[in-house]
């Protein structure tokens, strides 16, 4: 039992707190706490950790410039490898315990699907930093969940269009994707795009190796036997490294043009043969001409190299861009609120239709909370003055053109495209 005097003091303090609370409802907090969700353990950490490092560095840089509206930012990192239940429990703990005012979540699409209704229930502004399934905003229209990096439709359409432009003679296409929703969604989009703009192309193999498989020899044999002109893959992380290491010696890269949708993430770790088509699932290539014009990506990359000993990869940039979007939303909400610190509803109101310049381009939120970003794709090659492989022969597709209008079934929308669609697009190599 506290002593009477102490109790009196406590009561007074509580009353004072209540009164200030009533007087200036939105007093500036001492700091802005964020919950940041990514994979920190297990195989997916190969992709999740560069994201976390991106958040650490970006928050450091934001704070060095005075934080958001003068308030320093701090983050609690949550490991998505604990499964959806654990992720939800942590999200709730951070939200309901008052330990976070906004969330950057999540990497996995399954987790985003589980979290988006929760964001609305808990009225928690949430930025989906990486999950890109086009299912996310298809049925539900959450008010508090925003995704600045667009979705799978634009991403995988862009790859298909790029390889069709670069290899116009292509007749046979093979697909090798991981066996879960991400791999199957991508295959469906690639096939739908081919059917619409180049109906004569034949899918000669469609392989779905298990996520986390250690050997791909069987798949590589089948790919070799199918003699595809183009091999499309959205394998990622350790899986992609294994696949590249095993497919290289067996001549797959000489036999076919290979499209590795997440190839940029492993470019520093394995030898991707020149001519391999890679991209960044959006515009997050830190050496792109737009990024150079904006001028912030290069110092960011230099600081990243200094801190972590390697170049940033696109998950890093996606994370950094998500933080920039959140910062912009807060700043807009503060100015809309006549300089006073905004509440969560005001932050979400500021996100509505927001257009933000990121490290690598611009993202603009549509009515369905999906951010429209351009799609940058290129081929692995050499550039003067750079001692490691980079993206060359790049193209930058307008993001808007590759997305179904809000409310339309995206796969059905792809079906309405015609071969002319391809002719109107910028050519590979036009973006240098």
């Amino acid at each position: 039992m506290p002593k009477p005097k102490f109790r009196l003091a406590m009561t007074a303090a509580a009353a004072a707190a209540l009164m200030t609370g009533a007087g200036w409802a939105q007093d500036k907090p001492a700091r802005l706490d964020l919950g940041v969700f990514t994979f920190l353990s297990g195989p997916s950490a190969a992709y999740g950790l560069p994201g976390k490092q991106g958040a650490e560095l970006m928050i450091e840089r934001i704070n060095a410039q005075g934080g958001i509206g003068g308030v320093p930012v701090s983050a609690t990192y949550v490991d998505e490898a604990q499964g959806a239940e654990g992720v939800i429990a942590e999200y709730r703990r951070l939200a309901e315990g008052g330990r976070a005012q906004a969330m950057i979540a999540a990497l996995s699409s399954g987790n985003c699907l589980a979290l988006s209704p929760l964001a609305d229930q808990l009225k928690m502004p949430t930025i989906g930093w990486n999950c890109d399934t086009h299912q996310l905003f298809l049925k539900d229209q959450p008010d508090y969940f925003y995704r600045p990096n667009g979705n799978t439709i634009a991403e995988f359409m862009a790859y298909t269009l790029y390889f069709l432009q670069q290899h116009p003679e292509v007749k046979r296409v093979a697909i090798i994707n991981p066996d879960y929703a991400f791999g199957h969604d991508a295959a469906e989009i690639v096939k739908a795009t081919l059917k619409a703009v180049r109906p004569e192309v034949e899918i000669v193999a469609e392989l779905y190796p298990k996520l986390g498989a250690s050997t791909y020899q069987t798949e590589i044999s089948r790919l070799s036997a199918a003699r595809p002109d183009v091999v499309f893959s959205n394998l990622w992380g350790g899986d992609l490294e294994n696949f590249v290491r095993q497919a290289g010696p067996r001549g797959l890269f000489r036999q076919s043009a290979v499209v590795l949708a997440l190839g940029e993430t492993v470019m520093q770790r394995v030898d991707l043969p020149e001519g391999t088509i890679v991209g960044v699932l959006g515009d997050g290539w830190w050496m792109s001409p737009d990024a150079r014009t904006i001028g912030e990506a290069e110092p960011f990359a230099a600081a990243y190299r200094e801190k972590y000993g390697s170049d940033p990869v696109f998950p890093t940039i996606k994370m950094a861009n998500s933080l920039i979007v959140l910062k912009a939303a807060y700043e807009k909400a503060i100015s809309d609120n006549d300089g006073a610190w905004p509440d969560r509803e005001q932050v979400v109101a500021a996100l509505e239709g927001l257009s933000v310049q990121t490290l690598t381009g611009t993202t603009t939120f549509r009515d369905d909370n999906d951010g429209v970003v351009d799609q940058v794709i290129g081929t692995v090659g050499r550039a003067e003055g750079v001692d490691r492989p980079v993206m060359t022969g790049m193209v930058r597709y307008d993001g808007e053109a590759l997305l179904a209008p809000v409310g339309q079934d995206p796969i059905a929308w792809i079906g309405t495209l015609t071969p002319d669609f391809l002719a109107d697009l910028p050519r590979p190599g036009s973006y240098n």
Binding site: T76, I88, A89, R92, R93, E96, Q135, D179
Partner: protein, 315 residues
Amino acid sequence: MRKPIPLLVAALALLLLVPVAFPHLKFVITLAVAKGFAALGVALLLRGGLISLGHAMYFAIGAYATAFLGSKAGVSDLVLLLVASTAVAALAGLVFGAFLVRYRAIFFAMLNLAVSMVIFALTSKLYGITGGTDGLRVAVPTVLGWAPGKAAFDGFLFYLCILLMVVLGWLVHRYLQSPLGHALSAIHTNEVRLEYLGVSAWQTLLTSYTISAALAGLGGALAAMSIGHVLPEFAFWTESGHLVLTAVLGGIGGVAGAFIGSVFLEILHTVAVGVAAEAWNLIIGLALICVIFFLPRGIYGLIEARRGSTKETGL
């Protein structure tokens, strides 16, 4: 026989205070109780000397039944959903159990594992029906005509879980005290003698297997409503292993053990993740080693030890 009832009542009272004292733990405890039902199912079979390495499948069947009934069949009433999902899981238990309970020891464990991985593969590969690894969403159900918001429903579900835990815990306790329950323990001690007494081991086990599947299914349905999303990982073998661990850790001496183990593990998980985002696996592992090393009869063994008796345990 003296029972550790005062201790359990005290623990229950503490649990009831959770939403008041730690609002964010409400979800964790709801989930812990839901998983506790599945662990209780595993503990039941452990009484008969059988380890099931596949019980997460019934948890998943219950969860997916709730998701399907809600989204495809348009059932939105909580009571109906719980009863129907439990029935579906029990039916699945009856069908699979009919051949699984013919096996013992490692064969029983591995066959359960095999069937559960088939269920896992189906939920993750039947992309068009189950949503694959993206899973299915579960809407907030209505309660006998009352349509609460998600926050009100979460509060309601918490207390419903506690109520179900007490009522069903007591029923399972009564079952274990019944001739059928004693026959189950007898399978562990001497199955041949049981058969000579004229009791069918197959029937005894099938009954218990079906009950355990129903319990796991109910847990799955509750978890699905609480989480609001179902995923194939519910049926993955690591989840089944988690259930066995929960049952053993809590102690199979009494019905309460499974729930004690489950609440302990969930809270340990929450604390570990909160303390060290990158080393939570390590903290949980060390804590488990400590419990197994120092409490060989599980956490429930602590309560039993206080009674200072070696009698066969009841509650």
